[in-house]
Amino acid sequence: MSDATSPRVVIVGAGPAGIRAAATLVEAGLHPVVIDEGHRAGGQIYRRPPDGFVRPPEQLYESEAAKARTLHALVDQLVEAGRLTHCPGSSVVAAHEGRLHVLREGEVQVIGYDRLILATGASDRVAPVPGWQNAGVYTLGAAQIALKAQGVALGRHIVLIGSGPLLTLVGAQLLKAGADVAAVLDTSSWHRQMRGFSGLAARPIVALRGLVLRARLGGRYHAGVTLERIEADASGVIAMRWRDAGGRQRLTPCDMVGMGWHLRAETHLADVAGCAFDYDEQWRQWLPQTDTMGRAGNGVYLAGDGARLLGADGAEIAGRLAAVACLTDLGHAAPSVKADLRKLTRLERFALGLARAFPWPSDMVRTLPDDAIVCRCENITAGAVRESADFGGGEANRVKSVSRAGMGRCQGRYCQLAAVDLVAAQAGCATMDVGRFRGQAPVRPTPIGAFLRED
């Protein structure tokens, strides 16, 4: 363990960003604490199956297997050598003035920090489609986690909808594993996808790999579709109703729909830790303000997809940069970051290409029928959100209070982007001017009893 005089650095998240940040701090002689919700370190993209599963990394992570192996070995070795403290299965539910509230097995503990590195990652950016509240609708990320960490497909006949790299990747992975994928429906047109080309050329091998995966989907893949409705009966999904690029009505029977439009940064902890936010027009979401190294001020640093959506390779770099910033600010010697900064520029250009090629489906959201559910937690409709804008004006938190969108158990993670888009359309202002839902602690549902200690 660290001695009393060495600074307490806590990292939240043990994905590629968190692991690289931890390793960089350890190399400089510090002993960080890594708190992670996962049972095993790796994060979502390099998530490891439970004990007793036998598929090797080559099968689980394909082209990224070597990176996964390296990161897993690195973190395991640091934990075994006692050079960091790893707290798996633990959720940080609040961060305030040097103190974290950490929920583990039904109890909340307080952990103090001098410096905090948040590597909280991202989740699917979802847009409501009429019928998406029904059983059998999942995120694309969920479909991938189910396959990777459980060896299962979430349905017998699968339709994937949305846009972004994960749409193609998950489709190809499910097919390869033997699942029945009936259709892969991309709301981005071929024309639109070409607009990201100059950015995508920044990583030609990655772009080429994407095209190869796309080819594996064959005639199942359709670009430029219009999504109309997820049809369901009393037990769940039965079909996807959509129109192809030529406007023809299509009905694809299925019992599972996977959806996602690229990623949404997970920023609730950054918010409660006091970070400032900017609206990012390219990503169509609010992202925490940092400098290039990930400094957010007040001893807080951000790394990975929770700050900038650059993917796993970018997260490894950002993890190192945040640790170097932290070391520098603490007056420790730190390695050079020149090469990392150069790589980061290239990854940023590629990510911007992705954002252009696979955009948020704003038109679809803005024209949702009034009876479509926007908030899955409490079944709040598009009509109710629009009405709240008429009543309370075009401001996100007033809409939240009046309509309750964003006040359910997910705390707005899956409705916020659509809700503010609907409000902007109703109030006739820019999405950015609607603002964002303020995050509130606890950022995960926490039983009251967890805060009650005997002492």
Binding site: E37, V54, D124, Q133, G141, A142, V152, A153, R413, Y414
Partner: protein
């Protein structure tokens, strides 16, 4: 291996069987299954929505959406996507009686 529920097992078949109870009925799963996988291998839903007529079967599988909360017979709830199933676990899709 064929299942009767919503999900299809594609691989990783060679694991020990685990017995658990859902609404009093004895069910079988495999060691390493999450509660969500275990239940949906033989069923089609985890619970009913409190705000609408439809059943729910989880959504994000990464602990973010909170769609997959279930009851334990002893009272406390658990998140099905991030809780491993264990031998003899007793789960409910509805609130236990006499629970405040």
């Amino acid at each position: 291996m064929s299942t009767t529920g919503r999900i299809v097992r594609l691989t990783e078949f060679d694991r020990a069987a685990v017995q658990f109870f859902l609404d009093g009925e004895k069910c079988s799963a495999l060691a390493g299954d999450t509660v969500l996988t275990a239940i949906l291998a033989s069923g089609h839903a985890l619970r009913n929505s409190e705000f609408g007529p439809e059943p729910r079967a989880g959504f994000c599988l990464m602990g973010a959406c909170q769609d997959c909360w279930l009851w334990q017979e002893t009272g406390p709830r658990l998140r099905a996507c991030s809780t491993p199933v264990t031998e003899g676990m007793r789960l409910r899709t509805t609130t236990p009686e006499n629970w405040p």
